[in-house]
Symmetry: C2
C-alpha cells in the first residue's frame, strides 16, 4: 500500500533526460498493475494519448510537449547540424499536427504544442541542436509549472471548503492526471495534510472507470476517506445529505464559462443544482480557451462503442451488434457552475467578465 | 436473432403444472446465454429472487406466488390429507415470511404473498389438497392478470406519446420483468406494432447492467431502434434534443406519489425536469402502497459492494479493500413525476388525491 507521500511522488509522465525517453505510467492497467512505459517516438506518444495510457488534460499537455520535443530531436538528428530551419520546421509542424490529432477535446494538448511551436520560432536563428535544447527546456517547464499550478489550485480550492465536509468528484482530476496534486483533488490532498478529514465520494465514471480505478487508488493510498459509487448513485448520495461540495476538473473552459469535462459531469452539475450543493470546476488557465465563445463550439470526442459494451468485461455485456453511443465528454452549462478555480484566483459569474482577469 | 413475436413469447417465469415446478429464465446470463432453471423448493425460489435470476417488481411477485404455492404443496404432502388447517397454516406462514425476506423494496413481493395468504384463509374449511389447488390457481391468476395489466399500461402509455419520439428508459421494466409486454416497455412494443418508429435510449444501469444486458436484448430482438448509453450519458442525450419522454417502471409507489425504482432513476428524473422532458412512471396498481405515506418510509435494499468493484469484470476494477456504496434503489420525488400510469388510468398530481382512485 502506498501512502500520501508515495502517491504524490508518482510521476504519471516525465522525461528521462539521459536516455531521451518519456517514462509514462500506463493508467489503463491501474489498479491491477503499476507499469511504466518507455516512449521514444511520436507514434508511441500518439498511441499513449489516444488509448488513455496517459489522460487528464494537464498530463496530456505534458506528454504532448515531451512528445513534440522528442519528435524535434529525431527530425534534427536526420538533418545536418547546420541544416536550414525551414526544412526542420516543416517536419516539426507535421509532427505537431500529428500529435494534435490524438484527442480533440482537451485544449491543453493544443496549448502545450503551441508553446513548443512558439519556442521553436523564437529560436529560429540558432543552430538546430540549440533549438532542440530550448524545446526540451520548454517541455520540462510545462511539467514543472503544472506542479505549482496544481498546488495553487489546491490552496484556492481549500479556501472554499470546511473540515469534515463530504465531497463528490467525477472521473479523475488527480495527481495521475497532472504533474502532481491534481486539480480537483489538490484541495483533498492539502486538506488531508491539514487534518480536514474530508469524506470523498468518487463516481466510478463509466465507461473507462477513471473514478473507480484511479481516483479511489490515489485517495485510498493517501489515507483519505473515499467511497466508490456508480455514476447513477450520485443523486441518492446527495439526497442523503452526504455531499457539501462537488469538485471536478475540466478539459476546456469557453469564454462564457461553459466547461467541457468527462462525460457525465453535466449531469452531476444538474443534480448539485437541484440539491443546492456548490459545484466547483478546477481549471488551470491552460484549459481556458477564450477563443471559444461558448461550449457549443467545443468538439466532443466520440469513442468506440466497444468501450461501453465489451471493455473490461469477462464476456460482452450487451447483445452483439447493438447500437451504443460513446461521447467521451460533455459540456456543463456555465449557469450550473458556482465558481471556476484557477491558479490565479477564483472566478465567479459572470464568467465572460471574470475569466479574462484570470489569464493576466 | 429473436423477433418481436418471439421476444414477447419468452416467459421469464411460469409454472409447469404437470411437474409442479417453476420454469425460470436465468436473467443473470442474458445476453450471453438463454438458460431456463427448474425450481421446486422455496429455498431455490428465494435464491433466484435474491440473486436477481428473476427481477423486476411484477416478475418477482409472480415468482414469489408460485414459490409459496410450491411450499404449500410440499407442506401439505407431509401432512395427513385430512390434517388440521392450523398445522398447515403455521408452516405456510413460515414459508411466506421466508420468501418475503428475499428482497425488501418491491412491494409486489409482499402483495403477491398476501394474496396467497388471503386465499389460504378463505379456503381454510376445505381439505388441504383443495386449499393447495386453490393456491395454484391464485398464483396462476397473478401471472395471467399481469399480462392484461401490462397491456393496459401500454395503451395508456401510448396515449401520451407521438410517433417518431425519442424515449429514454432506465433499468429493465420490460417483458422479462413481467408476464409479458413489460411496464415501461409496453408502449414501445405496442408502438412498434403500430408503426410509431420510436427511438429508444437505454441506460445501461450499473452495477447490474439490466439496461445494457436486458432492455437492449428485448428491444433489439423486437426490431425497435435502441441505443445503449452509460448512465452518465443521459444528460448529453437529453441536451442533444434526442429525448421527448422518459419512461420507467417502479418497485413501490407511496401514497404521495414518491416512487422507488432502480438506483439512478431519481437522477434521470432530475435531468428530465431540468431539460423540460416529461417523466412517466409505469406502476401496476400492485406496486402502489397506500400504507406507505411517503418515499421516506420505503426500505432501500443495500447490496454487496463487490457488485460495484468486481462483478462481470475480467479483473477487479477498483483497489482491493476500497469502500463502495451499493444501494439497489432510490426514491424519485413526486414533484419530478409528470404522471403515474396504471392499468386503470393515468394519475396526475396531486397524487395523494389521484392514486386512491386508481385502486378502486
Amino acid at each position: 500500500m502506498l501512502n500520501s507521500e508515495s502517491i504524490l511522488a508518482i510521476q504519471s509522465v516525465r522525461l528521462d533526460h539521459v536516455n531521451n525517453a518519456i517514462i509514462l505510467l500506463d493508467q489503463t492497467l491501474i489498479p491491477n498493475e503499476t507499469k511504466y512505459l518507455t516512449l521514444t517516438t511520436q507514434e508511441e506518444v500518439w498511441e499513449a494519448i489516444y488509448e488513455l495510457r496517459v489522460r487528464g488534460a494537464p498530463a496530456i499537455g505534458i506528454a504532448a510537449g515531451f512528445g513534440l520535443y522528442l519528435a524535434a530531436k529525431n527530425i534534427a538528428a536526420n538533418l545536418e547540424p547546420t541544416g536550414a530551419f525551414d526544412v526542420f520546421y516543416t517536419s516539426f509542424q507535421q509532427a505537431k499536427a500529428y500529435l494534435a490529432s490524438s484527442r480533440p477535446t482537451a485544449v491543453n494538448l493544443f496549448w502545450a504544442l503551441d508553446r513548443l511551436d512558439a519556442c521553436a520560432k523564437a529560436n529560429a536563428h540558432l543552430p538546430l541542436a540549440e533549438i532542440v535544447s530550448a524545446l526540451r527546456l520548454e517541455a520540462q517547464s510545462i511539467r514543472d509549472e503544472d506542479e505549482q499550478v496544481c498546488k495553487s489550485l489546491g490552496e484556492y480550492g481549500l479556501s472554499l471548503l470546511k473540515p469534515q465536509m463530504g465531497l463528490l468528484t467525477h472521473c479523475n482530476a488527480g495527481t495521475l492526471a497532472t504533474a502532481r496534486y491534481g486539480t480537483a483533488t489538490a484541495p483533498m490532498y492539502l486538506g488531508q495534510e491539514r487534518g480536514y478529514h474530508f469524506r470523498v465520494f468518487a463516481d466510478e465514471t463509466r465507461p473507462l472507470l477513471q473514478g473507480g480505478r484511479l481516483t479511489t487508488f490515489e485517495l485510498q493510498s493517501a489515507g483519505i476517506d473515499v467511497t466508490l459509487i456508480c455514476d447513477n448513485m450520485a443523486s441518492i448520495v446527495m439526497k442523503n445529505g452526504w455531499v457539501q461540495a462537488v469538485l471536478v476538473g475540466c478539459d476546456r473552459v469557453a469564454a462564457n464559462g461553459d466547461a467541457a469535462n468527462k462525460i457525465g459531469t453535466s449531469g452531476v452539475a444538474i443534480l448539485a443544482k437541484y440539491y443546492g450543493i456548490p459545484f466547483y470546476v478546477f481549471a488551470p488557465t491552460s484549459t481556458i480557451d477564450l477563443k471559444c465563445a461558448t461550449g457549443a463550439e467545443i468538439e466532443i470526442e466520440l469513442r468506440n462503442p466497444d468501450e461501453v459494451t465489451k471493455k473490461w468485461y469477462a464476456r460482452p455485456m450487451a447483445p452483439e451488434g447493438v447500437n451504443a453511443y460513446n461521447p467521451a465528454f460533455d459540456v456543463t452549462d456555465q449557469h450550473l457552475i458556482t465558481a471556476i478555480i484557477t491558479e490565479n484566483g477564483i472566478a465567479y459569474p459572470p464568467y465572460v467578465e471574470t475569466l479574462p482577469a484570470m489569464l493576466r
